[in-house]
Structure formats: structure tokens, C-alpha cells
Amino acid sequence: MALLQIAEPGESAAPHQHRLAVGIDLGTTNSLVATVRNSIPVVIDDAEGRSLLPSIVRYLADGTVEVGYEAQKHQSLDPRNTVVSVKRFMGRSRADVLHVENMPYDFVDRPDAAPGMLQIRTAAGVKSPVEVSAEILKDLRSRAEEALGGELVGAVVTVPAYFDDAQRQATKDAAKLAGINVLRLLNEPTAAAIAYGLDHSAEGTYAVYDLGGGTFDISVLRLSKGVFEVLSTGGDSALGGDDFDHRLFCWIIERAKLLPLSQQDSRSLMVKARDVKELLSVDPEVRANAVLTTGEVVDVPTTSRDFAHMTQPLVDKTLVACRKALQDAGIKPTDVDGVVMVGGATRMPHVRKAVGTFFGQTPLTNIDPDKVVALGAAMQANLLAGNRAAGDDWLLLDVIPLSLGLETMGGLVERIIPRNSTIPVARAQEFTTFRDGQTAMAIHVVQGERELVADCRSLARFELRGIPPMAAGAARIRVTFTVDADGLLSVAAREMGSGVEAAITVKPTYGLSDDEIARMLQESFGSADEDMRARALREQQVEAQRLLEATVAALAADGDLLSLDERNAIERLVADSSAHLQGTDIAAIRAATEALVAGTDDFAARRMDRSIRAALAGRTIEELAK
């Protein structure tokens, strides 16, 4: 029999055991995975010693999937089936994506099955951006599990701070689909600040300027005594190094008078443009040369001055976001103690120069801008997995990037939670009916800063039904917005008189339901192998046993929180669970365990509440005990 372990709520049952956790930077151009080894964050390299995994996925007709360098090799030969920069498509419809006309993909817009997100028809079938991203994540997961020699407890996956709810949800689903337990979605600039701040024991106000392949973020943080407090964040989730490449690409075409181009030539010239951009960071002049499939020779001399000039509007756009973020934080550029540069695109000298001029100081670049996000995410993962060493304690207070609200009469937005609110956050507002006898109310949840619903992003619609007929204005409908620590929103509506309720977790639809994700996962792991089955049974039994013991211990310690009826109900569930535990029917054990979890959820919440009050009572006055 297993040893009896009584754990306080929230505490790991086995604190001495190092739990394998990683940080994953799922980037537009490259992705990385990092972990904390002997208290030092390190990037996990692949078998060939490479840190970066190009975020490129190629689908072959035989069902094979190539990820990373392998896919990159073939991108110009097979552009239709080789997806690059998939991050730009996460949680986006075709209409949302810029330069879609230049892309070689066969897009599928299926407003019926997947209204929220575009899909791509490949040789291996129609794929959603969530599935494509999951392939990248799977690769990183197996890289990490091989290197660390065990199964991961979970991962912190980073997202651009300026990602909206749909983009965050899509990222979390991709991780789920890759079989990764997401400990937390973490904003990229915040991750960079952690890596930077903990490494340098920094204190003061910092700005993190994060220009990635496809996204731009600016975050302003205050670091003091182990607390990372994000004061404001801003950016553009569709502006990045890719856009600099695109400007250069268009410029080369214009100079060489090339048009129209085949898809293959188009892709090779895009790749060429990127190479030229990277070379221009070192050399003042580079020749953009290529031989097209038509035999035509391209040779365009390009100077860093040309490049700086043609991309100045992009740099200016980032500086506008910087100024707004400082304004939201209530500070001036001179109040900033340090500017941290993140993202490969910050290697461009004219970007560094512009940022330096704006903030009046030389930006900090001493941690590799490609790695700093993954390193910070690894530190957070290590902390969340419970591998905290004494003294190595810090807390992160992040914000939501965009305001959340509801549609009201006349297509106007009623803001419920303003941007830059610290998360988690819950806020409620009351509304009423406007017609006599109205029994239903439509609730339209939107995100954005504009006054008109039409100018904001629509996140979800749902209906509150069963409102008792009353005179107009008599019903009191309380709508509560809750944003959790991952920055994900849920909305609940309740008519206060009758108690009728409706709730929704805001989730983009893209043709994959939670059930389908679960089924796909089962298919990939649950091969009907005998060994696997025996292992699954043992795991289920151990889990059930652990839960039973914890429940019995909880009843002994905090049974006074329950009424007699409640206690009896839980004891019945315990007896039922014990009875099934002896059997070999996995499904029955699982069902009994799930019933026990559901039946004790409220009790667990009350115990947690008591434990938090006790923890706070150490320093607060007796009002807490009321």
C-alpha cells in the first residue's frame, strides 16, 4: 500500500523530488525549449547541438511531417505544403492576415466549421494553425524529454504580450494537442524580464522592447524585491522581422522589375531578402542576387541606408507603441532604468539606434535576444513546478493587453475591464432589459480600445435565457468577466432576481472541439498494447488511492466545514471509490475517481479558502475571521 501523504492544499506531496519542467518559446521564425539545471537556466539543444528549431512544418502526401531544418530545406521546392510563420495565423481568419495574396498556401475558409480561424489544405489534408503549431511543440517536447530523461510535468509556453484572447486560447490548445500540460501562458517580454532581472538582480523600472519575427511587444515593468510588476504593455501582434523582409522583398522586385513571379521564385526571393537583411546588420552594402527558375538573373545592390530608409515607417510604428506604453505606465522615457532588447529582429542596427535615441540610453543586449524568452520561461516553469529553492522566491504580476467589454445599444462598447489591468481580475457590471416581458438577453463579448463594436474584435456571443417576464428595466442582470493568470477570459451572466445563469469560456472555434483534441491525443498515445494497458491501470489505481487518502485526511482535518448531509455524501463517494479500487476495470475506477473529484470540489475550495485566510491572518487584523 502507498504511504499516506497528507499535503496542505497547493503544496507538492513530494517537495524533495525535482520535477521536470520546461519553458517553450513558440516563435514566429524559430522556437526553443529551455530548462533549469542546477539552478541555471539553459537552452536544450537538439542532437546536432542546435538551439533553435525553425518554426517550419512540411506535410507530405504519405502523412510524414517534417519539422524544423528538414522542412526548411524544402520550403522553396514545396512552398504549398511547407508552412512558415504559422504563428501569424493563430486565432486569425483569412481576412485578418496581411499580405495573404503573396502566400503560397491553399487557404480554406470554412465559416461553418471553423469561423474563427483559417485553415490550410496540404498534401496530408486540411490543417489548422493549431495543428501546425502542435507539430513544432511535439518536436520540442520530445527533444526535452530525451535530454532530461523523463516525462515532463509541464511547460510554460510564451505568447506575445499583445496576443488577444483568441490567439492565447489557440496557443494553449496547440500545447494540449502536443500532449503538453501548460503550467502557464507567459507573456514574452515578461519572460525576458525574468531572465534578465534574476540574472542581474536588477531593481527599478525596465522597458522590454521585443521585436520578433511576426510580433512586436513593449512592456514596462517595475522590479523590486523579487516582485516583477508589469505596469503596462503595448504592441502590434502583426508587426515583426517578417515585415522588414517583406519591404526588402518588394524593393528588390521593384528594382529588378520582376513581375509576376512563380510561387517558388517568390519563396526563394523572400528567403533571399531575409539573408540580405541579416547580412546588412554587419555589412554596409550587400548584393541581393539570385537566379530564378525562368533563368532570369537578379542582382540588386542594397545598402544599409536604403534598408533603414525603406523600413523607417515600421520602426516608427514600434516607437509609437513605446510612447503609449510609457504613458499608460504614467512615466517618461527618462524614468526608465534599462531597456532590454528581445527578439532576433532587434539585431538590426537601425532598430537599436532608434530605440536608444527614444529612451536616451544604450539598450541592453547582453543576453542573446533569441534565447532570453525561453530562459525566462524555464525559470517560471521551474518555480511553478515546485522546484523552488530557499531564497529563490519571486512573484510575477502581469496585465491584460487589451480592454474587454460588451456590446450595448447602438453598437457601442461598454468597457468592463480596461487594458493594463493586473491579472487575475474579476469585474462585474449590472445591465437590465429594455423591453417589457423580455425573457432573453444576447451577450456579445468584444476586445479592443475603440468605441464601436464594429472596430473591436468579437470574442464570443451567448444568450441568457429564462429571464422571468418583467417590466422593462426591472430585471437585474449581472455580467461578470474573469481573466485568469494565463490572460484567458470567461464570462458569466446571472439574473439576480430569479437566479437564472449562463456562462461561457471564450474560445475560438477552428474545427477542433475539446473532445476531438482528447480523441486525437488518445489515438497518439493509447496504442492497445498490453504493457500500456497494465501501466494505465496502475496509474489510475495510484491516482484513485492518492485521492481517497487525501479525502479521508481532509475530512479528519476540516470536517467541520461540512454539514452532516454534505459529509455523508462525500463518505458515500469514498466508499464507492474504495470498492472500485480493488477491481481491474479502468473505466470504472476512472469514473469513480472523477465522481469523487467532482463531489469534493466544493469542500476542497472551502479548505483552500480556510488555508488562505489562515495564511493571511498572520499579518492582517481580525476582520479576516469574520
Binding site: L384, A385, L395, A485, M608, A615, E623
Partner: protein, 180 residues
Amino acid sequence: MSHPDHFALFALPPRFAIDETALESAYKAVQSKVHPDRFAAGTAAERRVAMQWAARANEGYRTLKSPLPRAAYLCERAGVAIGAESNTAMPGPFLVQQMEWREALEDARRSADAKHLAGLANGMAAERSRVIAEIGDAIDRRSDYAAAAKLVRQLMFIEKFGDELRAADEALSHPREASA
């Protein structure tokens, strides 16, 4: 069990005059005990309750940090509603001043006069400080919440005017973006 009010949560006396440093450190101390990151390995119920407490701490901190929501909270806590929507009566001199400010703002905007805007901002800041001091007097010394609620409604006007001033200043110093 009822939830502690914002002041009790941070173990601070329920007064308008507040020690901002004490508030900030109390907020961080509470968050370090209740934040969901502390319970990442916990059950769904535990994480949910932690999230509720952390959200409460964030709401409390936001409310107490700035004078306007803090004053409004103290009035409502004492059973006096602010009623900004239903109660729009303002003292005559205050209304006259508001009208003068708005006209001056329009003039400054039209003539793109940065100096004039800065002068307005100074006048507004002085008036804001005066009203905040009066609120402190009404709540902390006289416990006159009805008078405080009246002043809170005035402060709402002043803060709103401040937002407009900042927007006008922004449009003046960065005209290209304002039109974009």
C-alpha cells in the same frame, strides 16, 4: 463566510489619508500568499480559490491606490451612494469653472497653443489637489460622507477633464499619429 473589505485585506485603517508605501507592500505581501502561481501544482478547486483571492487583492489595490476610487469606496462603505448618473447637481461656481475650462481647452486646441494647454493643466492640477484635500477633511475629520460624495462627483469631472487635456496635448505634440 464574508470576504474582508479592501482595508481589512491589507490590514490598513479605513481612512482616506493612506500610507502608499504601506499599501503597496501589504498588497505584495498578500499576493505572495494567494497568487495562483503559488498553487500551480494544486487541484482545480485550489487554483480557482487562489485566483479569486488574487483577483480580490488586485481589485482592492486598484481601488485604494488612487484618490477617486478610494473616496468613492469609503462613501459606499459608509452607506452613501455616489450616484453619479442620477445626481448631476453641481454647485454653481464649479459649473462655471468647468465651462471656462472647456472653452479654454477648445481655444488652445484650435490655435495649437501648447503654452496655453500647460497653463490649463496647472490650473486643473491645483483644483484637483484642493478637492482631494477637502475630501480628506470630509471623510477623516468630519465623517461627513454626504459632503464627500458631492466632492467625489466633482473630482470625477476634474479627472475626466484631465483625460481630455492629456489627449489634446498628445494630439498637439504628435499630430501625425493622431490622424492615423
